[in-house]
Amino acid sequence: MKLLSIAARAKVVTRRYPFEPPVITEGFRGKIEVDPKLCWGCGVCTRICPPNALTLKEREDGTLVLSYFMGRCIFCGMCAEVCPRGAITVTKEFELASLTAEDLVRDVKHDVVRCRICGRVVGPAVEVREATKGVGGEEAKYYDLCPECRKLVVARGIMTKVGVRP
């Protein structure tokens, strides 16, 4: 019968994975990796991530953490496209199964700059430092203030100049 000839020609097509490597093409998107040396903690990736696998959260110990949870990741690679620092690479790894959820979390911790007046978070230390590199003089004294406090300080400065009591 025809079936026999088809089968004879096709032979066995099963790949004995995991004893053989899987078939992965060059276009394949697996999990992502965030390079802590490049990451600024700006959070653009968290805004583009459709399933919210990437989140930027403040921890109790006062650090800002970019948390990547593989369990939610859909491996779309949008985060890699939008990262202004190119800190995110899409790897070809997909063998991520684990018995504990913690194994699927990768965090990048950032020290933060806190407002010297009110204590609120201004931004990740790296971002603030790098963004303000080379800028000196008058401006520099505002970089450790949060937007609210900055407004107050500037306003006071102006009023002082003009001679009005705050």
Partner: protein
């Protein structure tokens, strides 16, 4: 088009329809563009308008209910009529003030309106006058009364308590349950077949077990336009790209963004690749249902190169993540074009052989012929779509009727059969595979150069700035299962209302006439022959309440009423 005029009148021109609706029925044009016209008519005129359009050869695509109370203190229902032979849509809007929320039902005029009206009632809470009702179509039995998920005040992540059902329905004595879990079904749904001996005499359907609240999610603060294609892609695990493309097309239409030609070609190529893989998958499943596992295994073996090819081009075997507003994310270079051609050659050769084999197995021919018949008049009344329609003599194909993307640039045949039985549906799909291969070859041959992304768009740019609120769009794509329709009302940075009507949603009601009178043994094949994609069908508007919550309803709950329409 000559095919169609044998059983339908030729649709009037848009100008004539607009004139009639505004002058005779008191309508008012809200908006129009080349392929769509939106007319608001007073409530009392809706039935007459529906009668007029239906008798003019229109097909009802779907209706969408919208909570417009924040905008104008009323609820609205948009009925989308497709004038296939002219290639434009007429969207008829009716409004109901907040304190007098009812609209007339048009189900006796247009039977295809059945489900979408009930869904409107479930989701928005608008009353339907003039028709028989069932308790619930889409919402589960233990959903609280008077909680309508698509209303704007209901948060998208609200989890209501489980309310014990008021009355529990018992099925008829000899009902054979197929579902919600059954080996022949790939997703949970529930069919109850009433049999006498081995012959099916009636069918009850109860679906929507896998509602995921996608439409509501699309409106929620969590989402933005740029994320929608990724959400849309997950509406279905087989035809995901269709939904992603259709949603993007609606957004691009609303914003007036035209993606570059090369992007349109690439989208078309991937759409046709998806059609090939979907049909091959289906042929395998049909063989398996008939007990011919060898056919199943070999068909899927032939399909595998297509999946690997998809991964090469898009980055993933399924859920391609290729679409963004304004274009596509990846390009197809010469090397990839070569690989596509090679794979297509191989698939064509092997599938031809396989198709010959499958149609020669006596059991398959005997069981597929003459079973699950859907006559043309039944098909037209229910407005079925896709291969189901084309197997029953209805010449409907979105690629021909409302040409989109690069389909105008290629020539291809649309297979048409008139028997309307299971075998016809098999043959339509088999032929479509070869047509798709031909389409892709033509497209690759004349692939234009240029960018693949509109210059104003990219992943980084917040697309919200490009898509203003308050715009309308209707987009339709021919999915492997039939016509997929997305209706969009834009809001601030995200849709105000996004309605998805997947093809299977339109085709399931056709199962009733198909299954009646046939032996039970053929029921699984008939059910499988509409290529049901319940992920697509059930995806609409309710909040997912099933997480970890124990249900109190029994399996039979709602089964009796839901389909006694």
């Amino acid at each position: 088009m000559g095919e169609r005029s044998r059983y339908l009148p030729e649709c009037p021109e848009m100008g004539e329809v607009v004139r009639k609706l505004t002058e005779e029925y008191g309508g008012r044009v809200i908006f129009s563009r080349g392929t769509e016209v939106y007319v608001e008519v007073p409530r009392h005129a809706l039935r007459d308008v529906a009668k007029y359009l239906y008798s003019s050869g229109a097909f009802l695509k779907t209706c969408a209910a919208v909570d417009e109370r924040p905008l104008n203190s009323s609820f609205a229902v948009y009925h989308i009529f497709g004038m296939d032979s002219r290639g434009y849509d007429v969207v008829v809007k009716v409004s109901a003030p907040e304190n007098d929320a009812w609209v007339p039902s048009i189900v006796d005029v247009v039977p295809a309106a059945d489900w979408c009206e009930l869904e409107a009632r479930d989701m928005i809470g608008i009353e339907l006058r003039g028709r028989k009702l069932v308790r619930r179509l889409v919402l589960p039995e233990d959903w609280p009364e008077d909680l309508h998920p698509l209303r704007k005040e209901v948060p998208h992540d609200f989890r209501p308590p489980s309310v014990k059902a008021g009355s529990e329905f018992r099925p008829a004595e000899r009902g054979i349950p197929i579902g919600p879990y059954h080996p022949v079904l790939h997703e949970p749904e529930y069919f109850e077949l009433l049999v006498e001996g081995e012959t099916v005499v009636d069918v009850y359907y109860r679906g929507f077990h896998v509602h995921r609240g996608i439409e509501k999610l699309g409106e929620s603060p969590r989402f933005t336009y740029q994320k929608i294609p990724f959400l849309a892609e997950r509406i279905c695990g087989i035809c995901g790209f269709v939904h992603s493309t259709c949603a993007i097309m609606a957004m691009e239409k609303a914003a007036g963004i035209k993606p570059p030609e090369r992007a349109e070609y690439i989208r078309t190529i991937v759409l046709e690749l998806e059609r090939i893989h979907s049909h091959l998958l289906w042929v395998g499943v049909a063989a398996h249902v008939l007990g011919y596992d060898a056919g199943f295994m070999h068909t899927w073996r032939v399909r595998e190169p297509v999946m690997i090819l998809s991964e090469l081009i898009t980055g993933s075997r399924k859920t391609y993540g290729l679409n963004l507003v304004g274009g596509v994310r990846r390009d197809v270079d010469k090397d990839k074009v070569g690989k596509i051609m090679k794979t297509l050659d191989r698939v064509e050769r092997e599938f031809k052989e396989l198709a010959n084999l499958l149609t020669s197995v006596p059991q398959i021919r005997k069981r597929a012929q003459g079973t699950g018949v859907l006559t043309r008049s039944e098909a037209r009344a229910l407005s079925v779509v896709g291969p189901v329609a084309r197997a029953s003599g209805l010449y409907r194909d979105v690629r021909k009727d409302y040409p989109y993307l690069a389909y105008k640039e290629v020539s291809f045949k649309v297979p048409l059969y008139t028997e309307g039985d299971n075998l016809a549906r098999v043959l339509v799909r088999v032929e479509e595979v070869f047509e798709s291969i031909s389409i892709i070859r033509q497209l690759l041959d004349k692939l234009p150069g240029g960018p693949v992304m509109h210059e104003k768009c990219s992943a980084v740019i917040p697309v919200d700035e490009l898509i203003p609120p308050g715009k309308y769009a209707v987009a339709a794509v021919e999915a492997p299962r039939g016509e997929d329709v997305h209706f969009l009302m834009t809001g601030e940075g995200r849709p105000y209302r996004w309605r998805v009507r997947a093809p299977t949603y339109q085709n399931i009601p056709a199962l009733r006439p198909m299954l009646r009178g046939d032996p039970l043994a053929d029921a699984p094949l008939t059910i499988a022959s509409i290529d049901p994609c319940f992920s697509c069908t059930d995806r609409a508007l309710v909040i997912d309440v099933r997480t970890g919550r124990a249900r109190t309803i029994k399996l039979w709950g709602g089964g009796v009423d839901a389909c006694r329409l």
